[in-house]
Amino acid sequence: MDPLNEILTQQSRRTFLERGTLGLGAMALGSLLNARNVTTEHRNRIGGLQGLPHFAPKVKRVIYLFQSGGPAQMDLFDYKPHLAARHGEEVPESIYPAERKTTMTAGQKSFPCAPSTLNFARHGQSGTWVSEPQQHVAKLVDDLCVIKSMHTEAINHDPAATLFQTGSVIPGRPSLGAWVSYGLGSENANLPAFVAMTSNGRAKAGQPLYDRLWSAGFLPGRFQGVKFRGQGDPILDLYNPAGVTRTQRRRMLDALNQLNREQAGRFSDPAIATRIAQYELAFRMQMSVPDLIDVKSEPQHIREMYGPDVATPGRYAYNCLLARRLAERGVRFIQLYHRGWDAHGNTPKQVGVQCGDTDQPTAALLRDLKQRGMLDDTLVVWGGEFGRTIYCQGKLTKTTYGRDHHPNCFTYWLAGGGVRGGITYGETDDYSVNVAENPVHVHDLQATILHQLGIDHERLTYRHQGRHFRLTDVFGKVVKDVLT
């Protein structure tokens, strides 16, 4: 046998095995092949790469509460009491250089300092500073690790959000959840490993989102985040057409399976077996998803905890409760996006509106996970694509101000398994313009999230266009200081 031939064949077989057994429920084939990549310590795992996790994971799953639009750090967590005295003074050029101001404000004649008008108070044993609109989350600060020193290069929403979700501003790369799903597989045979949900709040308009934020990029398409929808079928085309009963559907599937099996006999193509299995999985999803989204089955006190929006699909509160229910069912990566944080004008009021939509549900989710003992093996991540400027965009008055995009410093928080709760990490300068201490870059956060799942971000790679790509590009350091 000539060596090239052997190489070809080895590669083909490898690809075949990967195709056949990985990812969202190629179960039938997986069991046909004796589920050979299910290791003893992950007996319930479907798919995933051999050798992963690289080390003992701290958490089983991630819930990422992405706050789209750029929350204003100085109106939420990054308290600057001394700035009040500088209201209306120019922010010095030495602090805020001209080059990285967006063209929305670069043409302003003046850059007056706009200290937050919101009240802050210390909370919990840790005495963490939190602004008034976040009264629910404030009660849980001892569970939070507040990182005030996040920074990014991207100054516009689209590249900035894409960087957070895929590690690059260039489209076409896999998203964080897709990498996790590729590496670790799924723990539920009837649900996808990676789910994405979006919500709109009461703010007038939000920044748009993009399907690429939960896409599989160059990874095989089955690792893409499955979008749970706020309107129509919760998963695209989940329900039978009007007039078609479950009995009829079962009958049709039986016929289909038999005909497809005959086809499989004629063409020994494993793709047919996979297709048969996927129809069965689709049928089971038709059963399991309505049960999953039946939030009315939750006891009254739980629903009340999440607040009045909890029964409305497409709202943040609904998505938060769904996140918990997905987490309980073993979904590995649950990605929420809430729109509306892009407050260029009347920022303090807008921050209030956003918190009105998100504060209570976020806190409820944390409490709910905690009371079920699930916060110990879940990582919860909160934050947006960048922060906002301390200088005022538009007209500054005593009571209000606007804020433009600001990439140099902003706040994230983490909670859950292996995270040091009740600490504040990193510092910003007196103006909340630059990181003064312990900078954490987007790639560092990504490396840290993967680390908690037992993944070495440098070793989870995929060869594409001749290059071994990874989520963190060639960057990223695990932020050990925030971990227990």
Binding site: D2, E99, D237, Q248
Partner: protein, 756 residues
């Protein structure tokens, strides 16, 4: 990790049994060195460690690491301080590959003087290989394939049956299945050239241009919106019209590419060649307020370089944007010299808020039937910037009756190397002139240093890559995988061709036939290789790289939709024109953006999938479910995965349920018994009659559904209201609904979305 040396020795022992096939540096060794060693010992001088480079023959030989035992020691050591690659390096050198390197060292580390990577050497026309089975084969392609099979003691498969073959070639050439009339005519035609006549008919069909345009549209990242943030509208369908027509007219590939690259610079330029240049305007454009214009012009220009690299050169030029290429001999400066060709467009950094971004030209109402004077070249208006929102610089927007084109600035923008690829870090010590990397072939002094010259360089018969990369993509179209599997990467890190001589024969044949695209397609589909039956298992070659059987593949996302519309009689066959907005899930745009989707009505719901409105940030979900390219960046290869979402789409999606309803109406219009009606629909969809067993099963189902609907007529009424086209009121609703479920079953067969 500890045990690898032993595994290595074990494998080495296995490999030494293959002594008959000596290791070839280019094929066997360089790919290993490049993957495992080049990161620190490769072309990128800045990343190089220990002053050792293994990508350059003289430097490597001079270092002496092959002879003095150093490399051997490093490869076999268990000392973490010595072993290579180092244990903390995140790349794995597989035991088999390590064994190969050791074997290569042991046998004298032969590194030929001419060590150019195979793809950088012009293809030479190979002689046809000698084969034992001289009875097999229709054209030279088959000799290459058969020789390879015979070398591994394999046999080609017999020819596929006629119906299967007609279905295969109809989908491959037109994206649609054959009709029953097509099938009957072909089955009846027993002449020796029956198949060739069928192929000629399909090549002459206007559906050919539509179907072939799709791959090009995906690679050219064609879309109806700008692709960033608010994802504003643009109007580029006129370019799509041009593309379909150029393919149907069989414009020679060199002219086809030249018009797209430089239709504005041709001596015989006209309105149509100008429209062709829209190819290089299909990239995304950022309209987000606050963006810095200079930054985004750099992105657009880089996108053009990257797209050219992937589509024509099969190279990942993007790597060289920030640093010298890690694997291929493309320096960072080379990237910016290519960049200089595309850096002279009279364009704006920010897009307008909705509408085309300059340069654009007005399209006469009579498009595409332009009068002589309308067909003349038009000089686009220069960019006019207006500052809005205090400081956002926006250009004038192009109305729906315009199309974006290329147009040169009178004064070229200066090009510099950009450190780390950043727009604000130009290396101003040297202004770079447009030039191509010399390793990819010589530049003829008579070519202008413009995009036109660049196109001439690409289409030069001596160019090592363009023809190979193009015929490889053609091969991929038919066989699912290219002869070079990594069709986007012919570089050192790309995969070696499975049939190198065949690839070169096809490349030289393409040039010999004066870049005649249809001739090449005909050559491939009339080969015995293509015509083989696909039902022959070979566990040792699951991907069919050795081509011992015909291609079996799932249909493209577009063909899946089109076939359902076509077989149900719903398809609106209009060719060209603006994109249309068929059914979408509720809130498809609104839920994540500030735009609302306004669905079309009537006939527009049933156009072919290639005309579906493509909003880049929210691409049509059913297309994406079946693995369409996202149209954000150039994509020439997409994987086909199978997911439960696909099953849900085919069973429940409005388009597919409506198609089942109308396939049922067609069934009921057959003046025949239920059994024959089912057989007719089955054959219409999968191109073969059902077996007795299949028929019996579906007949029983029909009776079951019918009984069910008679008992619950409400259900039937509801089902018949799925989709906007009303059901024929003359037909019994319960009867029709029962047939619709049988049709739904047939449309969901694996075979319905497969070319066997």
């Amino acid at each position: 990790m500890k045990h690898w040396p032993y595994i290595g020795i074990f494998l080495l022992a296995r490999f030494s049994c293959l002594a008959a096939a000596p290791l070839d540096y280019g094929r066997d060794i360089r790919p290993i060195l490049s993957d495992a060693c080049y990161d620190c010992h490769g072309p990128d001088a800045k990343a190089r460690k220990a002053k050792l480079r293994l990508d350059d023959r003289s430097a490597a030989l001079e270092s002496g690491v092959f002879d003095d035992g150093e490399m051997h020691k490093r490869l076999t050591s268990t000392d973490p301080d010595l072993q290579m690659p180092p244990p903390d390096f995140n790349r794995v050198l597989r035991p088999a590959n390590r064994a190969k390197l050791l074997q290569w060292l042991k046998t004298g580390a032969d590194w030929p003087e001419d060590d150019r990577h195979w793809a950088f050497v012009s293809p030479k026309r190979p002689a046809l290989p000698k084969v034992k089975n001289t009875a097999w084969g229709h054209n030279p392609i088959d000799a290459f394939v058969l020789a390879r099979l015979e070398a591994t003691q394999r046999q080609p498969s017999p020819s596929a049956d006629k119906a299967t073959l007609l279905r295969r070639v109809s989908f491959d050439l037109t994206g649609l299945p054959p009709t029953i009339a097509d099938l009957d005519a072909f089955l009846k035609d027993t002449s020796t050239d029956a198949y060739e006549k069928a192929v000629d008919r399909l090549l002459a069909s206007p559906r050919y241009g539509e179907h072939m345009a799709l791959g090009w549209m995906e690679a050219s990242r064609y879309a109806d919106t700008d692709g960033y943030q608010n994802d504003r509208l643009r109007y580029m369908w006129v370019w799509r019209d041009w593309l379909i027509k150029a393919l149907n007219d069989n414009v020679p590939f060199d002219r086809f590419v030249t018009e797209q690259m430089a239709g504005d610079l041709l001596p015989d330029r006209n309105f149509f060649t100008q429209v062709a240049t829209g190819f290089n305007r299909n990239h995304r454009i950022n309209s987000e307020g606050g963006s810095i214009p200079d930054e985004w012009i750099v992105e657009y220009v880089a996108d053009r370089v990257e797209t050219m690299g992937t589509m024509f050169l099969g190279l990942t030029l993007t790597c060289s944007r920030c640093h010298d290429h890690k694997y291929d001999p493309i320096a960072q400066k080379d990237f910016y010299r290519l960049f200089a060709f595309f850096n002279n467009i009279d364009e704006a950094g920010l897009g307008p808020n909705n509408g085309n971004s300059p340069p654009f030209i007005k399209v006469p109402k009579s498009w595409p039937d332009l009068t002589e004077s309308e067909s003349e070249f038009v000089t686009p208006d220069p960019v006019k910037i207006k500052v809005v929102q205090t400081s956002v610089p926006r250009p004038q927007p192009g109305a729906p009756d315009t199309v974006m084109v290329l147009h040169e600035l009178a004064q070229p923008r200066p090009t510099y190397l950009l450190n780390r690829g950043m727009y604000d870090q130009p290396d101003k010590t040297e202004k770079l002139q447009p030039a191509t990397p010399s390793v990819l072939g010589a530049w003829d002094a008579k070519w202008p240093r413009t995009r036109l010259g660049l196109a001439q360089w690409l289409m030069d018969p001596a160019h090592p890559l363009t023809a190979r990369v193009t015929v490889n993509r053609m091969w991929q179209h038919y066989f699912g995988l290219g002869l070079v599997k990594t069709s986007e990467n012919f570089g050192v890190q790309g995969e070696h061709p499975s049939h190198p001589a065949l690839l070169d024969w096809l490349a030289t044949e393409f040039i010999r036939r004066e870049w005649n695209q249809k001739a090449m397609h005909k050559l491939i589909v009339t080969s015995a290789t293509y015509r083989q039956a696909s039902a022959v298992p070979d566990e040792r070659d699951p991907e069919n790289r050795l081509l011992a059987r015909g291609p079996r593949k799932r249909l493209t996302p577009y063909a899946i939709r089109d076939a359902a519309l076509f077989t149900s009689g719903l398809m609106n066959g209009q060719i060209g024109g603006p994109s249309v907005k068929p059914y979408m899930p509720p809130g498809i745009w609104r839920s994540i953006s500030n735009a609302s989707y306004k669905q079309d009505k009537g006939d527009k719901l049933y156009r072919r999938g290639m005309y579906t409105y493509w909003r880049r940030t929210v691409p049509p979900p059913t297309m994406m479910t079946f693995n369409a390219a996202a149209r954000e960046v150039c994509t020439v290869r997409t994987d086909l995965t199978t997911t439960p979402l696909q099953a849900l789409t085919l069973m429940n999606n409005k388009t597919f349920v409506e198609a089942a309803r109308f396939l049922a109406e067609r069934m009921l219009r057959q003046d025949a018994a239920p059994r024959e009606r089912i057989a007719w629909a089955f054959r219409t969809v999968v191109s073969r009659p059902p077996t007795a067993g299949e028929l019996k099963l579906l007949e029983a189902d029909l009776a079951f559904y019918e009984k069910d609907f008679v008992a619950q007529p409400d259900g039937a009424a509801k089902l018949l209201k799925v989709g906007e086209k009303p059901a024929d009121a003359q037909l019994s609703p319960t009867n029709l609904a029962a047939y619709a479920l049988v049709a739904n079953t047939i449309l969901n067969l694996d075979e319905a979305i497969t070319q066997n």
